[in-house]
Amino acid sequence: MNPRKWRVWHRWLSLIVGLQLVVWSISGAYMVYFDLSFIHGDHLVKKLDQPIAENTLISPVSWVLEQNPEATSVRLMRQWIDGSLQTVYRVESESGTQLLRAESLDPIHLDRMDIGYIARQHYTGNEETKAQVSFIEDKAPGELNSALLPVWRVDFNDLPSTTFYFSAAAGELVTKRHDFWRMFDFFWMLHIMDYQDRVDIQTWWLKAFSIANMLFMISGGALLYFHYRPRKRRRRSV
């Protein structure tokens, strides 16, 4: 094949499969430019590290286990209840998770006010920022793993549209999202070419485009060869 033919091939391939290479380079560049911990929103939450006071009155673990023989995990921890930091037991079993007051072992039900308060304690942004609290029982939004349901959703009215998700039973921060994460997720979708669920990396068209782009690269390589090959005749402009 002569150089002209290669060039026509290169143009056709660029039109049919090369455009995906542009998509890959833009989406890849976004993922490379922004630090992954920033994308994860680690800067949006404070680390809470007040220890459990030594003189806290609590019922012994054995009582919790007597009450809940099926429990697979019992955790003594702290949580904001009614606006103050309290020591609680978090009891996990196959049937679900529950919070108990550490002293009386009475069950605790977190409400909208509690979650709003807990969210404020985690949030590193401006204290005046408005926020909405909503409860999600089934239908998880696309940005949330549905295995985490049910959850409380807290949307902050700030610039990157920060959203915190808290577990319904224990009020634990399970996920945080902001617009840079959402953009990352959008680019990830473009990168793996799964426009539906954004998880499947094994589609036939992803493989097909990868292989076709290798051929596209070869056609470009041929053009490079024709440009730089040693010539017997004196150089003339092509």
Binding site: L15, S25, Y33, F34, D49, P51, I52, T72, R75, G220
Partner: protein, 225 residues
């Protein structure tokens, strides 16, 4: 346009090998899929069990450790275990029957490995190790439990906690190198925000964009035939 052509050609010389590497490794990821890439072909999370009896009281622990952030009790291989997290984010593991620091025995390591495994093999060997070249960031004492299956699955168990660190198998080496090449992080830490990668991504971005500009020019001039 002459400049665009020149830019496209020069960038192609610099970046074409890496673009080819991205395409080949990307194709490999697509071929193999998430589960095998993580060496989780025969992996399952260890099933959670009811805690069972506890003899060592929690108030002994609150006296033993300062600045406790949380205190968990759970079952590890049929024995109750305390996990004490202190505010410096350190974790301490205590046997809830005896009150001694948690120890993982060889039979226990084998049992834990089996619970994390759903393949056709049986445990072939349990070896004490300290960290592993195959697992970045884990340098502690533990066990390597090897299974007799087609891909030589091995489960790594952390001795201090009795946790299954992860699985590895004979395909791991190739998958890991594909990640190193795709992310341009040859240390194995899979950090794709390195300066090297930023420079390469920028070059690739301008390589493809200059190509796009040249293509639109060709389309306008009807130079497709």
């Amino acid at each position: 346009m002459r400049f665009m052509r020149k830019l496209h050609r020069w960038l192609s010389l610099i970046i074409c090998i890496q673009v080819l590497i991205w395409l080949v490794s990307g194709l490999y990821f697509s071929w193999v899929g998430h589960q095998s890439l993580a060496a989780h072909d025969y992996f399952q999370p260890v099933p959670k069990k009811a805690i069972g009896s506890v003899f060592y009281p929690e108030n002994a622990l609150t006296e033993r450790f300062d600045s406790i952030e949380s205190l968990e009790i759970r079952s590890v291989a049929g024995t109750a275990q305390y996990v004490v997290t202190t505010t410096d984010t350190n974790k301490h593991y205590v046997n809830a029957l005896t009150g001694e620091d948690w120890k993982t025995s060889v039979p226990m390591a084998a049992a834990l490995a089996r619970q994390s495994y759903n393949g056709p093999g049986v445990v072939e060997e349990v070896r004490a190790v300290t960290g592993s070249d195959e697992i970045v960031g884990w340098h502690k004492a533990g066990f390597k439990v090897t299974f007799s299956d087609d891909i030589a699955t091995r489960a790594y168990i952390d001795a201090a906690s009795g946790e299954v660190v992860d699985h590895r198998n004979s395909r791991w080496w190739l998958s890991d190198w594909m990640f190193r090449l795709h992310f341009m992080d040859y240390s194995g830490e899979r950090d794709f925000n390195s300066l090297l990668n930023i420079v390469a991504a920028t070059a690739a971005l301008w390589f493809s964009l200059s190509g796009l500009i040249l293509l639109s020019r060709s389309l306008k001039r009807r130079q497709l035939f």
